[in-house]
């Protein structure tokens, strides 16, 4: 019995080895995200979106460089920086040159540090970091790297766009800012205070509060304080259970103004808010699914929903990552010359399937694109989230947000 197991294992190993050598021309992208633990839902959803984009937009159209296929290889980082570095090393040892990650800016910092070191020591075996979600502004400012490209708008751009829209609302007099007590929550609060101060000095910030992250059981007292402050609007960068708890408490307490958020959608959040959040919840972000901008976008979403009926395209920019990478590889004429591919990325202009034009700014490797303010509603929600009938529907758009923004990036080119 033991022997047969060993034999079987050996055979399986041999098969995988020969299989990987058979498809050696596949261009592999390492997807390093939490695939177990409490954030596994987000990671798995992102993986599906990568696989689907690679399959339908690149491989089905004949691949890149006249026949090379994209292959997404998943690595579970358990949402830990240390584990991410282990997985990065495994990916590099497998000869993978492209790394995609986005959940947690802390992990993004750890990864780009490691990649910088690796590329310095191994100039013949370079690695590129495709950041599709980590929004800490530092990644394209002080900590910017030639090997790092960010496809999402950074937190400052989003706040800039959000406050642009808020500033147009003359009825807005008092704003309450509340967030989780850690770097991102503090960054959101600081950006909100300074942006509002510049654009509408007459708006009073009646509360600027940080609450312990994932520790608050009952958000009702915070909601009471917000109402007692007579705020007209709330800004929060909360995510996950903290977003749901805070949002529900505020709505239950009778707050009627808008709640501006970064992450109040998908992964069960849209379904949980449902009718109660209608007309109150707003999201700032780069993705536009509703209303669909073109038949191509609509067909793409429909095809995705057919394959994953319980899934949602909640990180639509993943499609941009895949399409722009294919474009850069074709332009560079090689899937191994990372410097040439990076150069192809710099200044690249791309018409996204989601309607926006995207420019990869050369000086800091930050994608410049449209930022939308969406409303949580069922009206015009053609493609709903969580199969709930509700979805964020774009209400206003800031074209090419942050295009003229300054950066402290001092890019070191090879």
């Amino acid at each position: 019995m033991r022997k047969t197991v060993k034999l079987g294992l050996g055979a399986a190993l041999a098969l995988t080895v020969s299989a990987s050598s058979l498809f050696a021309e596949n261009i592999k992208i390492a997807f390093i995200e939490p695939l177990s633990g409490f954030m596994a839902g987000t990671g798995t959803s992102g993986l599906h979106q990568y696989e689907f984009a690679a399959e339908t937009l690149v491989n089905a159209n004949g691949g890149v460089l006249g026949g090379d296929m994209f292959e997404i290889v998943a690595f579970d980082n358990k949402l830990s920086g240390k584990e991410s570095l282990v997985q990065l090393q495994v990916a590099i040892d497998q000869g993978i040159r492209f790394v995609a990650q986005g959940n947690s800016s802390g992990i993004a910092h750890a990864l780009i540090d490691a990649i910088n070191k690796h590329n310095k020591r191994n100039p013949d075996d370079l690695v590129m970091f495709l950041n599709y979600s980590a929004v800490d502004p530092a990644l394209t400012n002080d900590k910017c790297s030639f090997w790092h490209f960010r496809f999402d708008a950074n937190a400052d751009f989003k706040m800039d766009a959000l406050t642009d829209v808020m500033a147009e609302n003359e009825d807005l007099k008092k704003v309450y800012i509340i967030g989780q007590d850690y770097s991102f929550g503090k960054a959101v609060a600081a950006a909100a205070v300074s942006d509002l101060g510049n654009k509408r000095p007459d708006i009073e910030v009646v509360g600027n509060e940080l609450h312990p992250i994932i520790k608050v059981k009952d958000f009702t007292p915070y909601a009471r304080k917000i109402i007692a402050s007579e705020a007209d609007a709330v800004i929060t960068g909360n995510w996950g259970a903290d977003m749901v708890g805070l949002g529900k408490a505020i709505l239950d307490s009778g707050f009627e103004g808008p709640i501006y958020t970064y992450y109040a959608a998908a992964d069960g959040i849209t379904a949980t808010f449902g009718e109660a959040g209608k007309g109150s919840l707003y999201l700032v972000g780069t993705d536009q699914l509703n209303p669909p901008v073109s038949d191509r976008a609509a067909d793409y979403i429909t095809a995705y929903k057919t394959k994953y009926p319980d899934g949602d395209i909640n990180q639509a920019r993943i499609v941009n990552v895949v399409e722009m990478l294919a474009k850069a590889i074709n332009e560079a004429g090689s899937a191994t010359d990372i410097v040439a591919i990076a150069n192809a990325f710099e200044g690249m202009e791309h018409d996204s399937i989601w309607g926006s034009k995207i420019v990869m700014r050369a000086k800091d490797h930050q994608a410049i694109q449209d930022i939308h303010i969406s409303e949580h509603t069922d009206e015009g929600a053609v493609f709903d989230y969580d199969n709930s009938g509700y979805a964020p529907v774009v209400k206003s758009t800031v074209k090419m947000a942050g295009a003229d923004s300054a950066t402290t990036c001092d890019m070191k080119r090879p």
Binding site: P221, R224, I227, V244, D252, A271, T272, G274
Partner: protein, 318 residues
């Protein structure tokens, strides 16, 4: 002033919710000596079962059926798990319940996934009953208050006025004697464990729509329940009630206050440093009461353990 009144009500709702969790735990702990780490997991199961039932039969059937299912599951755990582990002593029991908590969390994620569940208040209770100032008090909150008080009165009646209650109380203090008198003590244990976990399940059913239904909900409430029963005194129903309300009001008032520790420093005659990153006390200068609210119950527990080790209403050492 209005805010204080609103906070009193909110704290009452949260405190009574804690009471439903801690009532079962304190009985189980004092009677069987089992520190049930999985108690909050049964609370989570209650919310998930109720959600599942509510998708087919509505909220009210979930409210009726889910606690019973959780209670039966709890009794089963006692009968076929804990009772076998019991003979090896307290440490294996502890490890058993700890493992059970992990197992239930994995089970919940396996069946329902990692996302938030859209488990919401029934439409009939989804309105503002009255408002104080501009703060609405949701009808559902008032409903929660009534359910919790009802449960407390029922428990009090059963424990002090019925024969079953007498046996339980006797078994709490002198299990051997009660056994010698011909009562089936293992059956009493199983019943208490079942009712205790069922109460936790009920707490989950009514708290799920308010505090969110997600795989982390057990961990979030797990530790605070132990704090409650230690403060209240083991085995004391009144103690559990008082400690729960105390913690409920304490955390609510702390979270809604806008007290800053900088005020104390200023009152002490210190000057606010211009460059905060240079100051040795920079953390204290920027600290607010809401930020440390969640650790206040733990500080109270330490205080109680120092001054009155057997808890506010306890009769023997913890």
């Amino acid at each position: 002033m209005e805010l204080i009144l609103v906070n009193l009500i909110d704290g009452l709702v949260y405190g009574l919710l804690l009471f439903m969790l801690s009532a079962g735990l304190t009985l189980i702990f004092s009677m069987m000596g089992v520190l049930n780490f999985a108690h909050a997991s049964f609370y989570m199961l209650g919310a998930y079962f109720a959600y599942q039932i509510s998708t087919y039969m509505g909220f009210w059937m979930g409210l009726l059926i889910a606690p019973v299912v959780v209670g039966i599951a709890g009794a089963g755990v006692e009968r076929y798990g804990l009772r076998r582990v019991h003979q090896y002593g307290h440490v294996p029991e502890l490890i058993f319940t700890f493992g059970l908590a992990l197992l239930i969390e994995e089970f919940v994620q396996f069946i329902w996934g990692n996302s938030q569940l859209p488990y919401n208040e029934p439409a009939i209770l989804d309105f503002a009953l009255f408002s104080i100032g501009s703060n609405d008090i949701a009808a559902y909150k008032v409903f929660m208050i009534f359910v919790s008080i009802g449960i407390f009165l029922a428990l009090l009646y059963v424990l002090t006025r019925t024969r079953v209650g007498m046996v339980i109380q006797a078994a709490l203090s002198y299990p051997r004697t009660v056994e010698n008198l011909g009562h089936n003590v293992p059956l009493v244990f199983m019943g208490v464990f079942g009712v205790g976990t069922g109460l936790a399940g009920l707490a989950g059913v009514i708290a799920g729509p308010q505090l969110g239904t997600f795989p982390g909900m057990a961990i979030l409430l797990g530790s605070i329940v132990f704090v409650t029963i230690v403060i209240g005194g083991l085995g004391s129903l009144w103690g559990a009630l008082v400690a729960s309300l105390l913690i409920g009001w304490m955390t609510t008032f702390a979270a809604s206050s806008s007290f800053q520790f900088a005020d104390i420093l200023l009152a002490l005659g210190m000057e606010k440093p211009a460059e905060m990153s240079e100051s040795a006390l920079r953390d204290l200068w920027t600290l607010t009461l809401p930020q440390i609210g969640p650790i206040l119950p733990y500080m109270l527990m330490v205080l109680v353990l120092v001054v009155r080790p057997y808890g506010l209403f306890g009769k023997r050492d913890a």
